[in-house]
């Protein structure tokens, strides 16, 4: 953070703490207007992609709370995403639960799962924790394929999920309805997350990230807040997974491999660790840049993607946050001239 401040050369007093994790008022409104207006001018397939963009943004945000907020690494987010997706799919297809209702259930189940997984993770930190979560991510697809659960999960075949229509006879396509539905949930999750990180609980988590012993001396129950952070992160990822299942209309074990977890991790870094609005930028990177890479070269799309990634990391080591700081700085300069 301090290095970042040197780069943008702002007087430190100007920067208020809330801008460290959220966007200012004008910027938020601008982004919101863009998000609401965009699908009105897009084709259904583009709208579907934008929905996936929002869904991954939720998952990146969840990881951001864990890593940026409480300082714990996770390469296991794909497992939580998978549990959320299967929860929604199974509830919808086997129990005929309304799709909107499956999301909070997926969230609660994943919260519990993350909270429990956070217990053993307490003994690990840094790269070792990353490895433990990595193990979770590699185990999950196989667990989902187990014959024992096949009646529910559909085994290797997976489950087909029915796409919901717009309610109340609203004149919009399924894709557009799902986009706005996802947008509302994204906004709710974003607002709750910003509130959380700015609150007593959020401060406790960030205190743990910065110095565990000092946090404990201030009365912060380090174990409790670390596992809570895991639970919250998993719960939000689970909601994203549930939304993903509804949007894609299909869940299968191999959609939720370690590759997804790494993509989410990438999205967090590109967006800026600890800066929640960056989740949207990071998610855009993991959803759209592979397409761009493919349009450059079909055979070497992976290499092109890698090259783009390296350039971005060189130019913007602090991710999208850096762009935000720089533009804020320039706008301030323009205004004060």
């Amino acid at each position: 953070m301090s290095a970042l401040q040197e780069i943008v050369d702002v007087t430190p007093v100007e920067a208020t703490p809330k801008k460290y994790i959220a966007l200012g008022g004008y910027a938020s409104v601008a982004v919101l207007v863009l998000l609401i207006a965009a699908p009105l001018f897009a084709k259904n397939f583009i709208i579907f992609q934008m929905t996936m963009w929002l869904i991954y943004a939720i998952a990146v945000l969840a990881l951001n709370i864990l890593t940026g907020g409480s300082g714990q690494f996770s390469l296991g987010q794909s497992a939580f995403y998978a549990v959320g997706a299967y929860t929604s799919a199974i509830l919808m297809e086997h129990f005929n639960v309304n799709y909107a209702l499956t999301l909070p259930i997926a969230g609660v189940i994943c919260f519990a799962f993350g909270y429990v997984f956070g217990q053993p993770a307490l003994r690990l930190s840094g790269v070792y924790l990353a490895l433990a979560t990595f193990a979770l991510a590699t185990a999950m697809p196989q667990l989902l394929k187990l014959g024992y659960f096949e009646h529910w999960t559909g085994g290797v075949q997976g489950l087909v999920v029915t796409k919901p229509d717009a309610p109340f006879g609203l004149p919009m396509s399924q894709d557009m309805w799902l986009y706005y539905f996802t947008l509302v949930i994204s906004i709710m999750i974003y607002v709750f997350s910003v509130n959380l990180l700015k609150s007593r609980s959020g401060r406790a988590m960030m205190a743990i990230r910065d110095n565990e012993i000092a946090a404990s001396a201030m009365g912060v129950d380090v174990a409790l807040y670390k596992t809570l952070a895991f639970g919250i992160s998993a719960g939000i990822t689970g909601v994203a997974g549930g939304l993903g299942a509804i949007a894609v209309q299909f869940v299968a074990p191999d959609s939720y491999t370690i590759q997804l977890a790494i993509a989410l991790f990438l999205g967090m870094v590109v967006g800026g660790v600890g800066w929640l609005p960056g989740s949207l930028a990071g998610s855009a990177f993991i959803v759209f840049v592979p397409n761009i890479a493919e349009s450059v070269s079909k055979g070497l799309s992976g290499a092109v993607f890698g090259a783009i990634l390296i350039v971005i990391i060189f130019v913007l080591p602090h991710g999208a946050r850096q762009i935000a700081y720089l533009s804020q700085h320039w706008i301030n300069k323009l205004i004060h001239k």
């Binding site: 007093v13 208020t16 959380l196 007593r200 401060r203 960030m206 910065d210 009365g219 912060v220 600890g274």
Partner: protein, 253 residues
């Protein structure tokens, strides 16, 4: 008020503390001195519950603190600062001090994320208290600065502010003068005395800087090789032949 009773700490075969006892009175500034390796920091870490004594007990107002986990120490009124400053470097001064109030406030993650009215009221009350402390320690100008970029002397004040935010009955200061120049040590001494007088906080001062201890402490405990060497007023301890031999050296006085 705080009673250290026959405390011993053994690491492997090394006896770091050997049956140390002393009492602290309400409103006192107690200086804990001793040469390097005397056991000052070990004792300090027992008080802040980072180490578990192998023998003896530590009582606050007659109740043992040794059954409490480290994070339940702040709530009974024991606050501390760290030897080389242990702040939360990426948080602002304001947020650092707010974390200090953690043991005096309540919330849960659901109310916090919904920002329920009672959470908002709590935060408002907390901000008022934090602002008062920032003003008291002259930190208002840097309230929104991240701590990492601040000068060392200011960081020490932030740490004091954070400790005070928990409304401690006893403040444990681990070598507060370390890294400060002559002028700053003098100012710090004044500040510690002011905190005691204004806020009725009892202070335990672990310090190398003899000048500081002797000028502000009411009572001094000297340790050497894990044992209590002497105890009394600064003048008494300074005159004690064992202390002179162990710590001040024989040629100075």
């Amino acid at each position: 008020m705080l009673a250290v009773h026959d405390v011993s700490v053994v690491f492997g075969g090394i006896i770091a503390l050997n049956g140390v006892s002393f009492d602290m009175q309400q409103g006192q500034i107690l200086g804990l001195i001793g040469p390097n390796g005397a056991g000052k920091t070990t004792l300090f870490n027992c008080l802040s519950r980072l180490y578990q004594p192998s023998k003896g007990d530590i009582l606050l107002d007659g109740e043992s603190i040794l059954t409490r986990p480290p994070h339940r120490i702040a709530e009974i009124g024991i606050g501390r600062t760290f030897q080389n400053v242990a702040l939360f470097p990426n948080l602002t001064v304001l947020d650092n001090v707010r974390v200090g109030t953690h043991s005096r406030t309540n919330s849960d993650i659901i109310s916090d994320s919904l920002r329920l009215p009672w959470v908002r009221n709590g935060e408002a009350a907390l901000n008022k208290r934090v602002d008062e402390i920032l003003g008291y320690l002259d930190l208002r100008d840097v309230a929104h600065t991240t701590v990492a970029g601040l000068p060392f002397g200011t960081q020490k004040r932030v740490e004091l502010a954070r400790a005070l935010a928990a409304q401690p009955k006893i403040l444990l200061l681990d070598e507060p003068a370390g890294g400060l120049n002559h002028e700053e040590v003098y100012v710090l001494g004044d500040l510690i005395r002011r905190i005691r007088d204004d806020r009725g906080v009892t202070v335990l001062l672990v310090e190398h800087h003899m000048g500081l201890v002797m000028s502000i402490a009411d009572h001094v405990v000297a340790l050497n090789f894990g044992r209590k060497l002497a105890e009394g007023t600064p003048a008494q301890v300074q005159a004690d032949p064992d202390v002179i031999k162990a710590y001040l050296g024989s040629k100075d006085s």
